[in-house]
Amino acid sequence: MRRTLSCLLHPPRFDDEEQARIAQIQHLLLVICLAIALGAAGINALLGRSLSTTALLASSGVAFIALLLLYARRLRLSIILLLSLFIALTASLQFIGRGAHDTVTSLYAAVIVIGSLLLNRRAFIAMVAVILLAIAGIVTAEMYGWTRSPYEGEPGDWFDLALILGLTAFASRLLSESLQHSRALARQNAQALEAQAAALRISEERYRILAANLPDSAVLIFDHDLRFVLADGPELAATGYSKEALEGRLLHEAIPSSFVAQVEGNIRAVLSGTRFSAEIPYEDRIYHYHYVPLTDDSGCVKYAMILARNVTEQRRIQAERERLIAELEQKNAELERFTYTVSHDLKSPLITIQGFLGYLEHDLREGNIERMQSDLRRIDAAVRKMERLLNDLLELSRIGRISAAPQRVPFNEIVKEALELLAGRIAARQARISVAPDMPLVCGDRDRLVEVVQNLVDNALKFCDNQHTPHVEIGVINETQGAPIFYVRDNGIGIDPKYHEQIFGLFNKLDPRSEGTGIGLTIVRRIIEVHGGRIWIESTGPGAGATFYFSLPVAPTPTQEVSHDRYDASRASG
């Protein structure tokens, strides 16, 4: 029972918002009416006014029925019943009271206001019409003296009241409808806002999904205060930050000022509408930043988005690829030069041989024995030259292909071996050779390194200055970092700086009459390069002597040996 009562204190639920609102007003009115009517009935009962008590109890009953109708969701019926009750009650009170001049007449105004709130326009007009008819009825009753009213009714009263109540109806309806209209507008706005918010949530969710799944990337979105609106992506963790640590915080609060300085200007530029890209290193990584302004429908920049992608690996591969391409191009150019040189140099002796063979026939016919002999010597020399060239080429092609396992050898041992091989020549030239003691260990193919020293010393002896005792000095410049640089220095004829690169070229000879094919320095350079070193010459010019410098990898300490061995082996086979 109590539950039912407390249940009656709450208006019934309606899904439709407008209906719910009306039901609420109706419920409130009914509860107030019931309370007043029951209260008044009680008082009247105490005063012994049985008629009034009965009327009030009857009204309460009607109101209660209206309340039940309301709970039965017969809203319209409930309203009509309540308003009818009001009208009937008012009319009855008028009838038993002072007629149209009774103060209860003003109740119509209240009914009109209530009706304007609860009824649609048609029902409202109908209700107003009923009220006017009721007043007309009262006035008519007054005119004929059917009422207890002390006043004598006249049509003028009806007109006055009709005018007043009509105006009241018009004004309250106007007010009610404008209220309804505003409410509808507000509801529309609220719905639009809700839809917008939902769209925004979806869009933000999309950004989040995108940001969280972009490989090697982080997405940052800033508002105009440089506040992190969004920070997400797999790469975010790599930078030592988390979404939680950034979102909602200001740029300078969240990250170190040194990095703020690097990006703040960029973010501000984006917020002013510029779109651009930049690459910024961060710790040991390189990030490619896409700065994108995010605009609203009207084109105003709302946010700045930074799409940061870790391109370290990509750049490394790119650099590696470029290096390989450059190396390949260089190798290709070298090969082209090589083929060109070879074809030219191998063709020459053939022309010589064929040419002098032809003259040999002439010599024979003319019986010119002396010239025959000289021509034969030339043919023989050309054949030998050809053989030498072919041997040299073979030798050159072998370097780097067939390589003994790299050894750790003291450089002094290599020098010693080379000098032993050159002993005869050194003695013949009466040359003085000085070798620095305790040169470092080197790592490589022992025989090839001996060949390097042998070639360089041989070269020094070949181009010695006839005025001085040839002096060849072998030593090392110990670089504080990196590989040591060895040198072979002579006091010979020297070389003009403009030929410093030429002398290493295949079959290039500055003096065409000098011995050899001109492959010695080419071989030396090839061996040094295969070992990962570099060779160059320094000589200020003719008469100044020359120094050949070359770098070689130092022998690794035993713990590093394995990895270095593999490195060198790959070099050697390349």
Partner: protein, 147 residues
């Protein structure tokens, strides 16, 4: 009296080839006087009358220059370029005589305004015929520019 001696400047680093060229030219009734230099630097010294060739009497202008391309010190193409860029020398016909038939060499020689490009042929007869033709054309048929 005008000097009617036909002069050839032969720039060739291969002594054997130089000897072959000399012999084939010497056989001709119009046998020219041949100056043989074996590298690019001395060729330029001769033409610009420097070093050993300061005296104009020692370095008269040749009627044709036979130039090898692969030369020690200064490359044949550089010699050619230098000649063709010099107002004094550019009218002297330069015939490249080389073992190289590489397209790059041919185009670069023509780009440097060479007058003729000849590849040394294999075979004695072919070599002799070529040298004969070169001599006949450039020394007897061709009208040299007046100095």
């Amino acid at each position: 009296m005008t000097d009617t001696t036909l002069r050839v400047l032969l720039v060739e680093d291969n002594d054997d080839h130089a000897e072959l060229i000399r012999r084939t030219l010497d056989e001709q009734p119009w046998a020219p006087q041949i100056t043989h230099l074996s590298d690019g630097e001395s060729a330029l010294d001769y033409l610009y009358r420097r070093g050993d060739w300061v005296d104009p009497a020692q370095s008269p202008r040749p009627h044709v220059i036979l130039l090898d391309l692969r030369l020690p010190r200064v490359d044949g193409l550089d010699v050619l370029t230098s000649i063709k860029q010099s107002a004094d020398l550019r009218r002297i016909p330069v015939v490249v005589l080389t073992t190289s038939s590489a397209e790059r060499d041919v185009t670069r020689a023509y780009d440097a305004y060479v007058n003729s490009y000849l590849v040394k042929p294999f075979g004695f007869e072919e070599f002799r015929d070529l040298m004969h033709d070169v001599g006949v054309y450039w020394l007897t048929r061709n009208t040299a520019s007046p100095v």
